[in-house]
Point group: C2
Chain length 324, copies 2
């Protein structure tokens, strides 16, 4: 089964969520709606809603309830992307791209705040304080993760543990919560909820490691932006940390990263990427991603053999191999 | 009784809230804590906590419960201030002040997001979905208000209604909710909760109108920044809208505002301020602020004659005359 087939099966429900997403940001203010809809229409894999729905299959599946989890989670994800844009704007300022006007930055910031608020408004319609608590805790962790990422820009001394903690906060937690809250909102038993949380967490970790590998070795067509964006911005990811532990590469790579930093975003990163490719970092990062996939699969083991379980297994495999 | 006396009476409880505020942002990440504590220590009148506590006196006053309302509301207020800073940063760029580094902007944005999340985490400790709902709705309204403010920069055709809607969202709503949720968390009856909401709303409207008058006519010492900051930034406030309706002033003032806009923030605003001062706008704005104060006092009428009621009356009077 392909990933697309999983999505095809859920298509009706995903379409409903899509409409809810649009509706949720449509009525308040013209500029906010425009900016938000623009974002929504730019698409995205709607991975978080898919995890909510599949996890909901392990309890009493009720789309009217589940969409009040799925929509907020996708909105929170989007809102963090818009705020990233404000930051990326700052980054591309250092490069050759057109400087976005301040107006755009403001719109991006308040659009993020607005979508964030909307997400919470929808989630709080469910009179379930546990859900509200988990969401607000995730928000705190996500902003800590974002701040850590900024703080560690061009920090070539950071440890693997640093990196893992950061992507846990930035990415894995929200995916874990998508699974957890989907199951919880469907009144699945506690063990099931916990298993799905663990599944989501591990898939999320693998997903982000893959994402960071892709940023270095994907083609511009695959990743929708020039490769090497992370390192150009100063974001030192796992393959780089691992390459820096490889004695054959360490010194020239450090020098190259220093050049990239000094170039203020204008540097060609291909030399650095070549060095990382030649190091043992890739294989080690790959192996770590696979280990998370194995853990994700392991977390599913005790669950009943329903179609959704098969789908979650497929998603885990695809995440392990993803090059999209 | 002076405003300070009211605060003196609540001092013990306010101190506890102060400590909770500090604790709430202390443990997660060094940079976030530093930025947040810096903000907290910069002070502020802690008006929202005061409203929460005073409103709580109309029910079963329990500081342990009330602080889970007071702390989040103050944090939400602070978080909106930090995000304003990101914007103000953009504004002062146009002026002569030092351009803040991008690092500061990023830190400001994520610090705002973080404080925001923290606020929700504390509020959701109270298992009261009504409170969660009111808070998330307020957040949405606040971000709409902020966006409207940006959109209406230098819009000299905006109506009084526009302005009132905007300050309702930007300021009045959060003060209204401080009173409402303080009373609700103390299990006051519904009529009392509604009365306090109305009180807070009207005090909030008067407060913002006074604030906008002060920005034009206060001294730098009174308001902590050079007068005319609003108009320099393009923020067209009530006295300006009203002055533009005065035939004696309209045309030269329009021309002056156009100059300010074209100067990109470097203009001397004293000529514009002088014109506004000479118009009928000041008196009319003053009168409107007083009308809101009267409404606020009226909303309190049915409430029992306890000390807190006297305090709220005093705060309303002070707001009506405020020059701090």
């Amino acid at each position: 089964m392909k990933l697309l087939d999983i999505f095809a099966k859920l298509k009706g429900d995903i379409n409903q969520i899509e409409r809810e997403l649009e509706r949720s940001v449509t009525f308040d203010d013209e500029l906010l709606s425009e900016a938000s809809l623009h974002l929504l229409k730019a698409g995205g894999k709607r991975l978080r809603p898919v995890f909510v729905l599949l996890s909901g299959k392990f309890g009493h599946y009720n789309l009217d309830v589940l969409k009040k989890i799925a929509v907020p989670l996708e909105l929170i994800h989007m809102s963090s992307l818009v705020h990233d844009d404000v930051i990326d704007d700052a980054a591309t300022r250092r490069g050759q791209q057109t400087v976005k006007s301040k107006w755009d930055n403001r719109v991006a910031m308040y659009t993020g705040d607005y979508i964030f608020g909307k997400a919470l408004t929808i989630a709080t319609e469910l009179n379930n304080p546990f859900i509200h608590q988990m969401l607000s805790k995730a928000l705190v962790q996500m902003s800590i993760g974002e701040m850590e990422q900024i703080r560690d820009f061009f920090n070539t001394k950071q440890s693997i543990r640093n990196y893992l903690l950061r992507i846990r906060r930035k990415t894995a937690l929200l995916i874990a919560i998508s699974c957890q809250l989907g199951a919880a909102a469907a009144d699945a038993d506690r063990q099931t909820v916990n298993r799905l949380y663990r599944y989501g967490y591990n898939v999320g970790m693998a997903y982000q490691i893959r994402d960071d590998l892709l940023d270095l070795f994907g083609t511009e067509k695959q990743i929708g932006k020039p490769p090497g964006s992370d390192i150009r911005q100063g974001n030192i990811t796992l393959p780089v940390i691992l390459a820096l532990k490889d004695d054959n590469v360490r010194d020239p790579l450090l020098k190259e990263i220093d050049n990239i930093m000094k170039s203020n975003g204008t540097a060609d990163t291909s030399a650095a990427i070549k060095m990382i490719k030649a190091s043992s970092g890739i294989e080690l990062a790959d192996r770590l991603a696979n280990r998370y996939i194995e853990k994700a699969l392991h977390a599913l083991e005790g669950l009943p053999s329903i179609g959704a379980k098969k789908n979650l297994i497929d998603i885990a495999y695809f995440t392990g191999k993803r090059n999209y």
